[in-house]
């Protein structure tokens, strides 16, 4: 700026000199040339200055993105009162730096922090390449981190917290020297808090949902109390038993699986046994029904025959008896497969003569004989 001032002074000097010069124009051509040169340089300087001023003003334009709000600070003090100090998305103008300062607040942008307690010493690269240091029989507090559970067990938990700045977002931007660090620590604290009242098996398997809910509840509480001005979007947690005891914890899982298998088998047996019993019961009832029907039908048939035969019998009982008896005996004898008539005095008969003969002829027997 000072150089501009210096350039201005010489350009001013020829102006008062000019009016008396016109008569001397032909005489002093050199001073004429000088004044022309000065005049044109003055014009250039003027254009430059206007350009600079325009540039200065234009540099005050800024745009606020769709997921942002902005606050204009004039001499360090927010312009506007309360909600009105927030500028929405679109183009805006402010004086350049020493006068105005624009602070943008990423209100709608999802941010995330990782918990920094609760996990053993490892890196993402080691995890990915499976080259984590092997677990030792103890945990060094300087390196490895973990959570203590309510039943004084050790467990590893880590998490990712996704959050957004809550509208209007002034607290988050203006009240904290390091807001994201506080969010992380609130998250850590919520994890420690929740673990301190949960049993190890509850965190690992039985009630992991409840554990995560407690973490979220405590975290929300801390956020409110510390007035961090953020909204929790999502909490992702990962938990494992101490790596040194992995096999022991797996053994419990296997025992659970075995128990489940035993129970399943027993339940299968149960349903099978009951189904079988049900089928047998139905069969027995059906058989009884059959017996009943048969009995009734046969008795009815007998009764009918009786009714039929009764008149004949009454007309001559003795004759009827003989006649009927011999008819029946005839039928029985004819249908008999074999009949033996023993002469008087013979007391022994040989039954079932065939099997021994069959046995001697059995080819199997012959084979065995060789």
């Amino acid at each position: 700026m000072t150089t501009d001032g210096i350039k201005l002074t010489p350009s001013r000097r020829p102006a008062p000199v000019e009016p008396p010069t016109p008569p001397e124009v032909p005489d002093d051509s050199s001073s004429q040339a000088l004044s022309d040169a000065l005049r044109s340089s003055f014009a250039i300087v003027r254009v430059l200055m206007i350009g600079l001023v325009l540039l200065f003003l234009a540099s005050g334009f800024f745009t606020v993105g769709p997921q942002e709000k902005a606050v204009k600070l004039r001499f360090g003090r927010p312009v506007g009162e309360g909600e009105q100090m927030l500028l929405g998305p679109g183009p805006h103008w402010a004086f350049p730096y020493p006068i105005d300062e624009v602070v943008k607040i990423p209100v709608g942008v999802m941010q995330s922090v990782q918990s920094s307690v609760g996990w053993y010493a490892t890196t993402r690269a080691q995890e990915a390449s499976n080259t984590e240091p092997p677990p030792g029989p103890s945990l060094n507090p300087a390196r490895d981190s973990y959570l203590l559970t309510g039943d004084a067990n050790i467990i590893h938990v880590r998490g990712n917290l996704a959050y957004r700045i809550k509208e209007p977002g002034l607290q988050y931007v203006f009240n904290f020297a390091n807001a994201s660090n506080l969010v992380q620590n609130a998250f850590n604290s919520a994890l420690v808090f929740a673990a301190s009242r949960y049993a190890v098996d509850d965190v690992l398997t039985r009630d992991f949902g409840g554990f995560r809910e407690l973490v979220q509840r405590r975290l929300t509480q801390l956020i409110d109390r510390q007035q961090l001005g953020i909204v929790v979007d999502q909490i992702d947690l990962e938990r494992i038993p101490p790596r040194f005891l992995k096999e022991q914890f797996n053994a419990v899982g296997e025992a659970e699986a075995r128990r489940g298998k035993l129970l399943n088998e027993a339940r299968n047996y149960e349903s099978q046994a009951i189904n079988n019993a049900r089928a047998a019961a139905t069969a027995r009832k059906a058989a009884a029904e059959g017996d009943r029907a048969r009995l009734i039908a046969s008795v009815a048939a007998e009764a009918e025959r009786f009714n039929h035969l009764l008149p004949q019998y009454r007309s001559n009982p003795e004759l009827f008896r003989r006649q009927y008896q011999s008819e029946t005996v005839n039928r029985v004898w004819t249908s008999a497969q074999e009949k033996w008539i023993l002469p008087p005095g013979q007391r022994r008969i040989e039954l079932d003569r065939q099997p021994p003969r069959l046995r001697t002829l059995s080819p199997l027997k012959v084979e065995e004989g060789h």
Partner: protein, 300 residues
């Protein structure tokens, strides 16, 4: 002369800008400022904006960040029942009285933080040492004093900071980590290991007894089903007998015939299939073969 006024104007603006460099200062909305005249604090400004002052040799401006600062602290402490605990807390604090804060720490936040860390260390032994281990970690909600311990530490540090006229306020304090010394973690692992073994055998035994219970219950249930069915079958047969008995009424007209028919029927059905008959010659009508007297006299 037209240029003159313009240039004088511009010159004045430049001088103003130049002067403001020395005479004006800004206080941002996150800050408060203390102005010292020849080294002594004379004015403090809590509202943001632009202010005037004398140029440097006379007055100086010291700005103090009013935002909440935080730091962490880590300590090994002994609980009242003799357990060693590794405890980490994080603390949020801010400067609430610049006039007090400024002379005390010369406006340096890091110096203030170092002093506060000392207060936190005192609070560790003073507060944590009065609580047993179960107040930190317990499955019994009533026993747990986690939040209370945080509060006690906060109040103690708060009170100490006030008593020492730090001009700062402790906004919050939270436990961010709880641990045990390395040698103790080894013991914990050993205990956990035996707990797991107990659990395995417990689960196994429970599974076996549960399965056995289910099986015996199933057997009982199916036996009962069968017994019920048997009873029902007997009842049905009884009903059949009852109904059949109605038909037997007919036979009462001539019991002798009925008995005769039943005997014949029984004989027939008894000798129905695959029967081998062994008869002797005395059986009628085979007796005809040997005994001529059996031929009816009527035939003569």
């Amino acid at each position: 002369m037209k240029y003159n006024s313009v240039t004088i104007g511009i010159g004045a603006v430049l001088v103003l800008i130049f002067a403001s460099w020395f005479l004006v200062f800004q206080v941002r909305t996150t800050e408060v400022a203390v102005v010292t005249t020849f080294g002594r604090p004379t004015r403090d400004i809590e509202k943001a904006g632009a202010y005037l002052k004398w140029p440097p040799p006379i007055q100086k401006v010291h700005k103090v960040d009013q935002r909440i600062h935080n730091f962490e602290s880590f300590e090994q402490v002994l609980t009242s029942d003799g357990y060693n605990l590794l405890l980490s807390v994080y603390v949020g604090w801010s400067i609430n009285d610049p006039k007090m804060f400024f002379p005390r720490f010369g406006g340096s936040e890091s110096k203030a933080q170092a002093s506060l860390e000392g207060l936190v260390r005192n609070a560790y032994s003073g507060v944590v040492g009065r609580h047993p281990f179960a107040h930190f970690v317990s499955t019994d909600e009533k026993e747990l004093k986690f939040a209370e311990i945080e509060n006690e530490m906060l109040q103690r540090i708060q009170a100490d900071a006030q008593a020492n006229k730090y001009g700062v306020q402790i906004k919050f304090l939270g436990i961010k980590k709880l641990g045990l010394p390395e040698s103790v973690t080894k013991l914990v692992f050993e205990r956990m290991q035996s707990e797991r073994q107990v659990l395995v055998s417990e689960i196994q035994a429970r599974g076996e007894s549960e399965a056995a219970n289910i099986r015996s219950a199933a057997e009982l249930a199916s036996a009962k089903l069968l017994a019920d069915a048997e009873a029902e079958a007997t009842r049905i047969r009884g009903l059949g007998d009852l109904e059949a008995a109605k038909s037997y009424e007919v036979f009462k007209q001539e019991p002798a015939l009925a008995t005769f028919l039943l005997q014949l029927g029984a004989l027939e059905s008894f000798l129905k299939e695959r029967t081998t008959l062994v008869l002797d010659l005395d059986t009628s009508p085979l007796n005809l073969l040997k005994d001529r007297s059996a031929i009816p006299k009527a035939g003569k």
